[in-house]
């Protein structure tokens, strides 16, 4: 705050914007909206059933390049931290499940894939970029939202997952 007192005019505006945005990006404390979706392996999955675990919800599509890039890394993350109370659900947003099937046959993953063919959950979570990743803590509160994927983002995910597991 004392920085602002010393700077004037445009410099203050620029610094203020930087601080405000840094604070904004990332931390939210709203409960994760509940949903029930059909799973690709049969049956249904409801979000509240997963309470007690750290849940990562990843919205993806087979037509989205960065989503495909991310999948093998998410799989590694899932297999490594599952014993520690972490779970990952891949919510596929495509209207035709055959497209996801085609992709997953070539590149299978071990975490559950849920089918949001009517995009109801995408709307519920205000998905504004592809892919979108939501981290929910053991109490069902949304702790982190990440839009898009670029090489290196998985390190950010790992840091946050480890922090939430330790809580």
């Amino acid at each position: 705050m004392f920085l602002k007192a010393r700077m004037t005019g445009w410099r203050a505006a620029a610094v203020g914007a930087l601080i405000a945005s840094a604070a904004f990006a990332g931390s939210t404390r709203t409960p994760a909206p509940d949903f029930t979706l059909a799973s690709r392996s049969g049956g249904k999955v409801e979000l509240t059933q997963l309470r007690g675990q750290v849940v990562m919800i990843n919205f993806w599509a087979s037509w989205c390049g960065p989503c495909r890039q991310e999948m093998p890394l998410l799989d590694k993350m899932y297999r490594k931290y599952k014993p520690a109370g972490f779970t990952l659900v891949g919510v596929n947003v495509e209207t035709d499940p055959k497209d996801a099937d085609g992709y997953l046959k070539a590149t299978p993953v071990s975490f559950p894939i849920l089918l949001d063919t009517e995009n109801k959950v995408s709307q519920l979570y205000n998905v504004s970029a592809m892919p979108s990743t939501v981290l929910v803590d053991r109490k069902g509160v949304v702790r982190y939202v990440h839009h898009g994927y670029k090489a290196g983002d998985e390190n950010e995910y790992l840091d946050r997952i480890r922090a939430l597991i330790r809580e």
């Binding site: 620029a14 930087l18 945005s21 990006a25 960065p66 504004s128 839009h147």
Partner: protein, 379 residues
């Protein structure tokens, strides 16, 4: 004034840096090897081309390319005033695209060399995604420096400079429809004609009834072109597209271009593309196939590129994905063949070689076959 403007700019740029962590996507990494061949009107131009593009650190995409034209020309222009010739043109191009948030900054450089024409072009561009990534606005600026020479006349050395200004817009309208619009202004200064072309004028003293003389062009030319285009995803997996462009310049050339096409993928590994393009232009103000006498006007041209003509282009393209599974560092590979059949029919350029008396020769027309064979790899 300048210092406060610079500060405002700095503040604005710092805002972009943090506004949102989301980013626009850079073009894919790929490499293409092409063989091209144009044959028509007594001219054959063929050669190889190469283009490679690679991303680094997800921040910058670099591209490099090479292009060659091997020209063998016995065109109507050459046959009436000169002799057939062979020539080679070599071109190198380099580009860099830097992504920062929702903006892509582009830089480019093209160097073209042939015995009688040297052209260097520098370009800068900026592309911005907005309104939830539904709109993309692009601004571009190019600067060209050209040296025009003349075969057989080493002393002939003229300059021609060029400035291009572009603005483009791409808009997602529905989940099936894309619209685009673009505008480009080009300004040229210097030696703007082709040194090998000549005008002809009625000359009762000449056996053929006419004599040749050199062309005289204005030393400036400013043009404006505006185009709109659309691409629509049909209910089954296919796309229909269309485009219209209007062109006008200070030489009083007006041109209309209309193109429609249809892209049809088949069995996931084949892709077919059919298109039709219609082009029509009116002649330049100082153009004439036959001037009434010598030194008729301050500016005179008989280059058929400035004549009134119509052109139809029917195009067909086939693409086959021969590599569907990854192989070492290559993810995908296609082999492609494009063929265009183009007709040119001139309204005020006559075929002197056909004879018939000065001004009564038949109007010139010719057809061209344009072929491209290329292999593309994605990595």
């Amino acid at each position: 004034m300048r210092r406060s403007a610079a500060r405002a700019l700095l503040a604005l740029l710092s805002l972009t840096a943090v506004m949102n962590g989301r980013a626009t996507v850079l073009p894919e990494d790929r490499v293409d090897f092409l063989w091209h061949r144009y044959q028509g009107g007594g001219v054959t131009i063929q050669g190889p081309a190469f283009l490679v593009r690679k991303k680094f650190a997800e921040r910058v995409s670099l591209s490099a390319g090479y292009y060659e034209d091997m020209v063998s020309s016995a065109s109507i222009d050459v046959l009436t005033t000169a002799s057939p010739y062979k020539e080679k043109r070599k071109q190198y191009n380099f580009g860099a695209d830097i992504v920062r948030g929702k903006t892509i900054y582009s830089l480019g450089y093209i160097d073209s060399n042939e015995p009688d024409y040297k052209a260097k072009t520098s370009s800068v561009g900026i592309s911005q995604d907005m309104f939830g990534d539904l709109t993309t606005v692009t601004l571009g600026y190019q600067r060209g420096w050209n040296i025009v020479g003349e075969r057989g006349t080493p002393a002939f050395r003229e300059r021609a400079d060029q400035w291009n200004y572009q603005i483009g817009l791409s808009q997602v309208v529905t989940r099936n429809l894309l619209l685009g619009a673009s505008y480009e202004a080009i300004s040229q200064e210097g030696f703007l004609n082709n040194p090998y072309r000549s005008i002809r004028y009625l000359d009762p003293t000449a056996g053929s009834g006419f004599s040749f003389d050199r062309e005289i062009y204005p030393r400036t030319r400013t043009s404006n072109a505006a185009a709109i285009r659309a691409r629509y995803y049909l209910p089954f997996r296919a796309a229909a597209y269309g485009e219209y462009r209007f062109y006008t310049d200070t030489w009083k050339i007006h041109a209309h271009t209309v193109q429609i096409g249809y892209t049809y993928p088949w069995r996931d590994i084949w892709l077919f593309d059919l298109s039709y393009r219609y082009y029509t232009q009116s002649n330049a103000e100082f153009y004439s196939d036959l001037f009434p006498r010598a030194n008729f006007a301050n500016f005179m041209a008989r280059d058929k590129e400035l004549a009134a003509f119509k052109s139809h282009d029917i195009g067909a393209a086939v693409s086959y994905q021969f590599m569907t599974k990854s192989w070492h560092f290559l993810n995908r590979g296609t082999v492609n063949f494009h063929y265009d059949f183009v007709t040119y029919r001139y309204g005020d350029f006559r075929n002197i070689l056909a004879g018939g008396g000065a001004g009564n020769e038949p109007l010139y027309s010719f057809n061209a076959n344009v072929m491209q064979l290329f292999v593309s790899f994605w990595f």
